[in-house]
């Protein structure tokens, strides 16, 4: 009897997990299913599109380059902070920046620092250009990677490794690069994939700060997909196909980079050659304060805008005529943003919790089976082109005629929250020190008791991080919310994104701030809570052995 129940339980668990992970594939197949409008001859005008090759190259380059640069910066920052007791819980300092939407970072960056901006007439940073795009992405990705490293690091015996390395006579930075970097890189592979896929297909930032002669590929794809002029739907189909190829290519490049980095570390370690990059590690101590300052400046700018501050001088005059600061806009909009904020909160909580639960389930099932499926399979929701995928869901939702309510929206967010929770949790989950569970079993704990009281407890810090990320991912969803909810359910993001396409600075700033509030609270609380629980290798008490 018990065995039957167990089997039924296991089967349904597998079914649930495979359903969620299959949703993206289902979506992309239905969404990209060629309609009568598409035929093979359309590939000709697509390939002949002026600037296509440069556009594709720029897009691929910016995606890979910004991800890898972010990875290395984040690692160097992490190596500076990991062992400092005071900064142990540096995650909470990341909360403000993590919670600002990508677009807001880009907007703040160009407003403050680009050519003809507030502080610089000629800073060398163009208002629109590849460098600006990459910088904006890097500013946002580094904290994300730091968060991931921190979740992974709690389960890795970094301290022992460093101790061993030092005992063998290696300097500190060499220990970090040769001993800590390779396993950390392997564990954060999923995060790298996610970051690359994001940059490859992001439209809003590309439109705002990306180069547009030629425009980035994701922008072209979006433009064709949303145009119904003759021939454009055919172009949209082929460009989506190419986008899929680019995504596959970037997966390949990241795997190759990993192999190369391993080999490089090994060669450098055994040759004992001079390794200069390590010497600049200490510079990255300044990263967090700089980041803090930058975030504070951006938040201040947005706050001032939302209170009606304008920089109107006469044409090219230096004197800023400060218009009066007034809370009028906040008062006016209050009536209209309370409900979307509440909807966002509820949807985010539900989608976030379910996403984390399903990710844990998927990991546990694979762990029991003793075999892990390829990473990219679980991350399909993040990797596949979102617009086509969600279009597929929309078509299926319309077939089903199930009405429009928040339940559907939660379901449409679930693949994303699941994928992000999975990418945060996988490393920590695999690295839970098996000794503890063995010990629990020897004390007579049942498998379930041992899972819940040992493994789950050890994973708690990572789970908090995973939830905070999943929650903020749900908050940030625009396309699924609009396409599945059909405007019946407004969230703070559906409002903010629509406002963002306009030109009213004060309103844009107000909604940027509103959109950041909920993720900020999630990251902040998660960082505080994570401190109170130790992973198998982290926490305060193992510091000073």
């Amino acid at each position: 009897m018990a065995a039957t129940i167990r089997r039924i339980g296991l089967t349904s668990a597998w079914l649930l997990v495979s359903l969620i992970s299959l949703l993206p594939i289902l979506g992309i197949v239905v969404g990209l299913w060629p309609s009568e409008l598409v035929n093979i001859a359309d590939i000709k005008p697509f390939l002949a599109y002026q600037g296509l090759s440069v556009s594709v190259f720029m897009t691929l380059f910016s995606a890979i380059f910004s991800t890898l640069i972010s990875l290395y910066i984040a690692f160097m920052v992490y190596s500076q902070y990991h062992l400092s007791r005071r900064l142990q819980s540096f995650e909470k300092y990341l909360a403000p920046l993590l919670s600002l939407p990508h677009l807001a970072i880009a907007l703040g960056l160009v407003f403050l620092f680009s050519d003809g901006s507030l502080f610089f007439a000629d800073s060398g940073l163009p208002r629109k250009g590849l460098s600006t795009l990459i910088i904006a992405i890097v500013i946002k990705e580094v904290p994300f990677f730091l968060l991931i490293f921190s979740a992974i690091g709690r389960q890795l015996p970094i301290k022992y490794w460093l101790l061993q390395g030092k005992a063998l006579g290696y300097q500190d930075y060499r220990c970090w690069w040769f001993l800590v970097f390779p396993p950390l890189l392997k564990q954060s592979r999923l995060a790298l994939l996610a970051a690359t896929a994001y940059t490859l297909s992001v439209v809003d930032i590309s439109l705002l700060v990306g180069p547009n002669i030629p425009e980035l590929f994701a922008v072209s794809v979006y433009r064709w997909q949303s145009s119904f002029a003759a021939g454009d739907q055919g172009l949209a189909f082929w460009s989506n196909a190419l986008l899929l190829i680019l995504l596959a290519m970037s997966v390949f490049i990241l795997y190759a980079h990993e192999k190369f980095a391993f080999a490089g570390c090994k060669a450098l370690a055994t040759q004992g050659s001079r390794f200069l990059i390590g010497k600049i590690n200490p510079m990255f101590k300044a990263w967090l304060p700089m980041l803090g300052l930058l975030t504070a400046m951006m938040v201040l700018v947005f706050a001032l805008w939302s209170f009606g501050l304008n920089w109107h001088g006469n044409w090219h005059s230096d004197g800023f005529a400060l218009t009066q600061l007034t809370p009028k806009l906040w008062q006016d909009e209050w009536l209209f943003f309370a409900l979307p904020l509440q909807n966002s909160l509820l949807i985010g909580l539900l989608a976030g919790l379910l996403g984390v639960a399903c990710a844990l389930l998927a990991l546990e099932l694979q762990c029991q089976k003793g075999k892990y499926w390829p990473d990219y399979y679980w991350l399909l929701a993040i990797i596949l082109p979102q617009l086509s995928m969600v279009l597929g869901w929309q078509i299926m939702h319309i077939w089903y005629q199930g009405g429009y309510h928040s339940g559907w929206i939660v379901l449409s967010h679930l693949p994303f929250t699941f994928a992000y929770a999975y990418l945060v949790l996988k490393g920590p989950f695999q690295n839970v020190e098996p000794g503890y569970e063995l010990l629990a079993a020897s004390f007579g704990y049942s498998a379930w008791q041992s899972w819940w009281q040992v493994r789950f407890r050890l994973l708690l810090p990572a789970i908090f991080t995973a939830f905070a990320i999943a929650f903020s991912v749900s908050i940030a969803q625009y396309i699924p919310t609009l396409m599945m909810g059909a405007g019946r359910v407004t969230t703070i993001t559906t409002e903010a994104v629509a406002i963002g396409t306009g030109s009213q600075q004060d309103l844009i700033a107000l909604y940027v701030l509103l959109q950041s509030i909920l993720p900020f609270m999630a990251f902040f609380v998660a960082a505080l809570l994570a401190r109170r629980f130790r992973g198998s290798m982290g926490g305060q008490d193992v510091r000073d052995y």
Binding site: F228, G487, A498
Partner: protein, 392 residues
């Protein structure tokens, strides 16, 4: 020939001339006078009754505070007067409802009413996704200023009752007075300004709609409003008219913002750059936007409106109901309300400033001297050649 006259006419007469043009278009289509349902008819009373208590999901661009605020006002009025709940579904791109209707493919729609024009309208009409006979089913359609404004044809596609004009777009520049002292612009004077104030002039990257219209205005000016621009583009016309535009752009681009190596992605982005004093001009389709933006202190006090000497390219933005809309009666009542004197008045004098499309409120001062839209084949041609020459 007639269009050569066009340019020499003084701006006051241009509108009258346009009137002739519109009448001519109407005559071409043999628009027969049809009986429009009246406010107090049984049919309309039934519609009103059926509409009570219904919700209308209105898909409309949500990026403009002025429009959003206007729709909030309309929502209150509709609830009070007709017990209809208007819900503004804020979309980022007018193609979102089109893509949804395509996915729904005739099943009961989530959309009751949509804000549409141009190629999206043409596509929906061809696909048969729109409810027809709106002009005859809606009482206030009788008062549309069809004789005074080009509002029966939407970018070469006759409306044929599948959409109803709601407001008017006229291409203009919002500009710094000190840089643009002349009330009207020509291609030549713009080049002089761009040379004198380098890096302060630009336009949204075509195929963005404002950007393409900017190029059309230049083409009209450079070709002295050649009559062939208003007909299907022939190979010969193309070869004769377009090179002038490209030669001009070759001269202009080095003086543009970012040396023409990048362009704003949208008119909204360009206006933001203008607000932040990076540019000396922005583009707009609302002839009164400059006043409204000034009154809300969004742009500097020294901002003025400038238009091209040939008149502003003029078109309409419209309302349409999907064939499969769940509450078509209520949607019709909403359109009828939107065309009422009260709503059109508020649209013009309130925060938005969009000119009225009905006879009783028609006012020369609300609009600028108008210039007709080019034939839609030129639109495609300009976009494609621009992409070939400058886009890669």
């Amino acid at each position: 020939m007639t269009f050569r006259l066009f340019k020499s006419l003084n701006s006051g007469f241009v509108l009258c001339f346009l009137l002739l043009f519109v009448v001519k278009v109407n005559a071409d289509e043999e628009l027969k006078p049809v009986a429009i349902v009246e406010e107090n008819s049984d049919q309309w009373q039934q519609t009103l009754k059926a509409a009570q208590g219904q919700s209308v999901y209105f898909y409309a661009w949500g990026g403009s505070k002025a429009v959003n605020d206007y729709l909030r006002w309309a929502t209150r009025e509709l609830a009070k007067q007709y017990r209809i709940k208007l819900i503004h579904v804020k979309v980022t791109d007018p193609s979102e409802p089109v893509s949804r209707l395509k996915a729904e493919n005739g099943r009961t729609s989530a959309i009751d009413l949509m804000w549409v024009n141009g190629e999206n309208f043409a596509y929906l009409k061809q696909q048969g996704f729109l409810l027809g006979d709106l002009w005859t089913a809606i009482p206030n359609a009788a008062f549309l200023a069809v004789d005074k404004l080009p509002i029966t044809v939407d970018f070469g596609e006759p409306m044929h009752g599948f959409e109803v004009p709601w407001g008017i777009g006229q291409f203009n520049l919002i500009a710094e007075e000190a840089v643009y002292p002349q009330p009207q612009l020509s291609a030549k004077s713009l080049l002089v300004i761009a040379k004198k104030h380098p890096k302060t002039v630009t336009y949204p990257r075509p195929p963005e709609f404002h950007g393409t219209t900017f190029l059309k205005q230049l083409l009209v000016n450079l070709s002295d409003a050649d009559p062939r621009l208003y007909q299907l583009a022939s190979q010969q016309a193309k070869n004769e008219l377009l090179p002038v535009l490209w030669q001009y752009l070759d001269k202009l681009h080095p003086y543009l913002w970012q040396q023409g190596q990048a362009f704003p992605s949208s008119a909204a982005e360009q206006l933001l750059l203008y607000q932040q004093q990076n540019l000396s001009m922005a583009v707009s389709f609302n002839p009164n936007q400059w006043l409204k933006e000034k009154s809300t202190k969004q742009i500097s006090k020294s901002s003025v409106r400038r238009s091209f000497i040939d008149g502003a390219i003029t078109n309409s933005h419209n309302l349409a109901i999907p064939k499969s809309a769940p509450s078509p009666e209520a949607a019709k009542v909403v359109i009828n309300f939107m065309l009422s004197e009260k709503a059109q008045q508020e649209k013009f004098t309130g925060v938005w400033g969009d000119p009225s499309v009905i006879n009783s409120l028609f006012d020369d001062k609300a609009t600028m001297p108008a210039h007709p839209e080019l034939h839609s084949s030129w639109h495609v041609l300009i976009e494609e050649t621009w992409q070939q020459r400058y886009g890669g």
